[in-house]
Symmetry: D3
Subunit: 327 residues, 6 copies
């Protein structure tokens, strides 16, 4: 919607109104240029465009991962369906349009990868997948500084602070299969935390992560995610990273991950778990410096796709292996 | 809504739910922190906060104009009612809330001065005033790079490209008392221009303004504005100024006014015409440099208020008079 | 070359290696992403991408001019040939590749419009056209803060300070049909000015422009341009505009045009003269603020194309005509 | 002083000239908008305003800490006394005025929390507290990239490089209860380091911190701080954090803490030690990106207050406890 | 003081403590890196460094003016004495040190050109010259948005809003030979304006300038300046230019000159009048974009020097002459 | 070449054409202001100027390291030879000129420290040293996000993606003594990785570094570096650091080192190994924020020099020693 029509790093285009155009897809990328649900700084409407472009290499539909020894954009069949039309001023209509798009992708058997947009979109993203796989059959791995479990904001049930509550309320995702990693700061208030506890959500605040170590927390969380669920939706809010390293976002909360930690956590998630959907949200280009946040978001997408591709090879992966061994 | 609660340069606060709090007002300032109707770059939700603060002088509720020899913030009774709650994701509800606020001010006999926000708000702004003075009794002086007379956008009747059409359709403002000044560029398309011509709007594109001179165009326009109307609503889109001088806006169109020209035009408008409402819109702080666009917007408000105050003195004003003469 | 492959505001693509793909063209846009000839701040390699995208309207291949009442992108047959491969580290090879591309367009009968890039490219741009129309048969209208008539720089005959000298030396353009408008500052030194005088160039420094008026200077210059020449090449260096309004450039020289003045001068040039080629150079996005310089450059291209389209209608154009008259 | 009059995240206002207005205070916030002592980049005069506002949540005087399970702004009685008038051009008068303000707060029994301003203010800040608690009875925990123990600079005893020397010379703080954490770089020179050693200061350079681990260093330092002293003053120079993550500061020294490390260190300090005063200095908004440094500074204040509040509950705190346990 | 030691565009260095080093000087440049008198945004301490460097041409001590046909840096004997040490925190000592430096230059018979720094420095600048030429024998041409005639600010007689009052009070400059050009906005208040009127100052507010034309106002003002005075001090506050074109300043007031107007006005001033001193103040690099304000300030200096050099040739200058005529 | 002529933090100047001027040098700094080999964002031509100036301390030729207890700029004899003339548009000529300069320094027995510029310069840098010490006798420690072992780019053998391949092909550096640390991302493609493996290069990708720990990898790599080689060339591409902390670079790849890690790794390298040459490349000021990347690059140089100086003292260094012990 914003700027020229281009695909993620040059992958092939598909048309969601023409199911044949993505019938053989492993992954379909969908742009969700929506910031009408943002409670503070807007700008994520330019996220899809930035995430598609933020790379210094040719937009040639190929990205061989040094680390994982796959070329996700070639080893998988990846299409980009372009942006869903989402009018900032009408959140209900916009989220509905996105849910339909995601559901169409999921129904085709492909993994939807949604480029946000603000975090409001997690509601249609995960709902669209759950409509295909079954309500309650998809667990959620959610990297974020914020719980996004508010009841209402500005008098609306919809917005970037509330999607996770709506997902649990509707039954699309089970509360006890909701894994939140990276929370911190001064929100939400105790009442909402109580509601979260009642839902048996598992939320890793940074204090626990620092005290126990990120790896241990991830191991624990990922085990929960695959317990009696058929697939995992991965939702990455870029603000899980410290704003000192990822300034281009709307509600920055100091004290977060490094970019390296996020990439490694996403890699483990997508390599170890059966991913059925991904979104990457809250990249707000107007607040970015030299596009570093958009670059990070682009790499989150590539890391996820590369790990999915590596998982599909069935060949075990050893992070200790030197780069040039076996080349 | 965004950031701390403060008033325009320190004027007194009033409460729109308490009519007594502004019963003696000459002017009531209302913040409209809404960018849900923006078709391109968002950020005007931070406009009200920026417009209230962009000044290097103390926020003491006093601003003696060197040029006009009045202190508008003291010579007039000016209150700031704070921001109307406007959720970006629900444009209809938001515009309705603003219309009620503006109507309350107008009904009290005060002049509402609305700090936008995107230009969607011109619809509730002028409608709110017309509800008090009578539909068709208020003419519009509209400084802008864009005509804002679109039919729909993103499937919505509401948005920052359509308010002027809605105002004419509803009869709130007569098409033949609609004066547009500063238009340029490549929008709207011929069909919309034909509709505008049918309404007998008078739109001064920059070519005509350069060819004839701005002063002559203003003289002509202002004469139309007071012909068989009871009051004039002044709507100033900051993008009427060249983006090279006012970069902090969402839909920049090169080739516009200088800041000086806008200030002089606003001064003449408010000194010569019976102003019944003012809005200043499309200041988008995320795209600004050193706040220069916010400063300009702040000065547009002060220029308007100063000219209104000077007009009320009844003492003729001579722009040739040296600053220190008669001091 | 830099970033995704997209066309100017969505016009159709053509392929310079396939003459059939642009056989019916009126205009072919060519990107020249080259900043290897820059003596100071680089970054113009991102100029073509920025100039193609800098617009808030849909990239739909249509831009109806309010002022000129034509839709240049539709009324003319406009193609975008994409970028010529130009390696910053090898200026001679790069300029040669561009010259071949421009010559191919000119030979087809279309007007080449080259998006720079630094001003080094004016050499291949005008040479490519002159190879088709005849050396000495093309006059040059050159808007710039700088004369660009240096002998050598950094030991090279090629670079953004020397193209105009090379063009005159080769005979591609006659010195006495070389019109420079907007010069100012402290370069070149007297020896080069003497050489320019010997070539009988006509260079309008800002002092003369202010003293006599821009319109009078343009009238005089444009008359020279069509005296015994078959066509006019228009070369617009964005730094002719004051850096206070167009900061995104490499060698900013204060005291220049307003953006409005440049747009009007380009319009007159392309409406009044038989244009055979255009380039727009020295837009350097890394130094820009909120893309205002790129927006201006985009509008220079549209203004040129719109004026060419209007000229071809044969219908006289009156700048005094109100926008809505005759709609 | 700079901009509108507002309080830290909306806490209640008090008036230092009216002791009754803060008689029941646990904490009084004081703004010190002074950058006249800065040796390099100025701008910290805007620090108090930025630190008060840098938050995306409502300014409602409530901030429930996810980590510490207290709402410091409600569990403690926190007032904001506004800014002390400090003229950049007269450092002695300015520091004196601040010292009086801090002493007034300390005398009331409340903890002063001073928002800088450059680090010159540490002299009046800690002196003001020591006047109440006794010279030599307050130890100092000082997070900083720089020792700030210079003798003179620009011919002045006062400035942001010298406060720690003045504090030890006057006896306000004992040299052997001066704990500096995070030093690095190329200043001061050996003579000053010798003076520091003579005072028996304990300064942890980053090399030692990396070699031994930050936690071990803090444990050691904090033990010294409470040995034969009655209270601890915490002085946080934001430049202890790496400038790559906190660019908005005046004398950036690469190689520092992450934001996460600083927040955790401040939390431990204020939870484990008897804090009697806090300052946070050297946030320079003109050099910030998207306010990330101001956000970090705001969170340093909240972290300190939350830990103080938690300490006062007397309920032990376990960083390994999951967020939702016991909710 | 800030950054490396370099001279204005590479002119020779001199040492103010060694009068022989500038005995033959026509002009001596002095840096005044002081922003301790600024009431709002600081940063002008970096002005001298920025003004010396802001040029894309080699720093070779030569700048042939296209307009004036002189090379001021060669035709005049220009030295740069470097920066005076000025500590922001001690305005009285700093201004005194500068006054001594300026007086030393003036006494040598050279014209001091002071690179600020905030406008506080106009007091020592003009006083230093008057000490040589006689109190009351130097008139002042003062380009500025602000009158700078305040009585006190922050309890100080010194600061960037008060120098002009101090100059008149001391008798260094006669009130009735004080020409202010470009004033606008909302400061000072009526009492100060009355004081100014009593002094018989002549202040041209932008309204009068627009109404009468800048050229006419300058002609009038310049005639006053040479009436019964022996020399003219030119003080240029960069904020006389519209902040939309010169954002890098501390107290921006919209509605000012274009850069072109300032350059032309400075040229006329220095060509027509007997200049005995110049300062250029209020360039604040932290707020600049792509150095455009520093570039403008650099060109103001060059324009002044070039006009002085041209005046000294005794050869009449005609602004209508084409650039290449007579070369 | 760009801007004023100044030396690294005020060290003495030397002249490469006069061998006597640096006959006693331990270190000679050489500027390589070249970005003609950059494949994406340019700007490193301003790297040498930025690296020389990025410090808040006086430019006095002294920098006592807190950590290493040496003053490298005084304990070593360090000269700055200024910039080599390198024209962006002619990479072959430019690299040749640099190679001659580096060889001259190496031949004198001094350590060349080259300030880039883009990474193209590693070819002449290491070749220049190898010409003196013998081809194959110098090993390479190479910190970088990228392998820079491409075959050609844009049809050229030279450029910032290919220098390491050229060095191995020529024999200047042995492939099996080529240590690459910090690689990551999606380049180069498998064919190039195979070529690297064939050369027996040892490349540490971030995955291995995270899995094994940076210290262990460095220990292993440094042991290889001194095995049967006479000296070590250290090449530091600033993009080895995460772009979130070092945004001022041309080809940012998320997931890198912290600044602290780089400084420590460089320190160990230069303290433990016999360094014969150093370059620091890819600092691109136009994309930097508040100069943080330039500051980091400046500190990389100082860290390297300090460690070299400390190594030469022969006194063992213990990172656990407190700062003030033994002072």
């Amino acid at each position: 919607m914003y700027g020229p029509d281009l695909t993620f790093l040059g992958v092939d285009r598909c048309d969601l109104t023409d199911t044949a155009s993505y019938a053989d897809a492993d992954v379909v990328i969908v742009g969700a240029p929506f910031d009408g649900g943002t409670s503070h700084r807007p700008g994520t409407r330019f996220g899809p465009s930035a995430l598609r472009q933020a790379c210094y290499l040719p937009h040639d539909g190929s990205r061989p991962s040094l680390a994982l020894r796959v070329d996700a954009l070639r080893d998988l069949r990846v299409y980009d369906a372009g942006d869903v039309e989402m009018f900032a001023g009408d959140i209900e209509r916009s989220l509905h349009a996105l849910e339909e798009a995601v559901a169409a992708v999921a129904t085709s058997g492909a993994i939807p990868v949604i480029l946000g947009g603000d975090h409001s979109i997690a509601l249609p993203d995960a709902t669209g997948v759950a409509r295909h796989l079954g309500f309650g059959r998809v667990s959620m791995v959610h990297f974020d500084a914020h719980a996004d479990t508010g009841h209402t904001a500005f008098g609306s049930l919809y917005g970037h602070g509330q999607p996770m509550r709506r997902l649990i309320e509707s039954g699309a995702v089970r509360g006890d299969r909701f894994l939140q990693i990276g929370l911190r700061g001064y929100w939400p208030e105790p009442e909402t935390l109580s509601w979260m506890a009642e839902q048996r959500m598992r939320s890793y605040e940074m204090t626990e992560i620092v005290a126990r170590g990120l790896d241990e927390c991830l191991t624990e969380a990922y085990a929960i995610a695959v317990d009696d669920c058929d697939g995992v939706f991965l939702s990455v809010d870029i603000d899980v990273v410290d704003p000192g390293m990822a300034p281009g976002t709307g509600t920055p909360e100091p004290g977060g991950f490094t970019g390296r930690q996020l990439l490694d956590a996403v890699r483990r998630c997508c390599y170890e778990l059966p991913i059925v959907g991904v979104d990457i949200v809250e990249v707000a280009p107007p607040y970015d410096q030299a596009d570093v946040t958009a670059y990070l978001g682009n790499r989150v997408v590539l890391e996820a796709l590369s790990a999915i591709a590596r998982r599909r090879t069935g060949i075990p992966w050893d992070p200790h292996q030197p780069l040039l061994d076996g080349r």
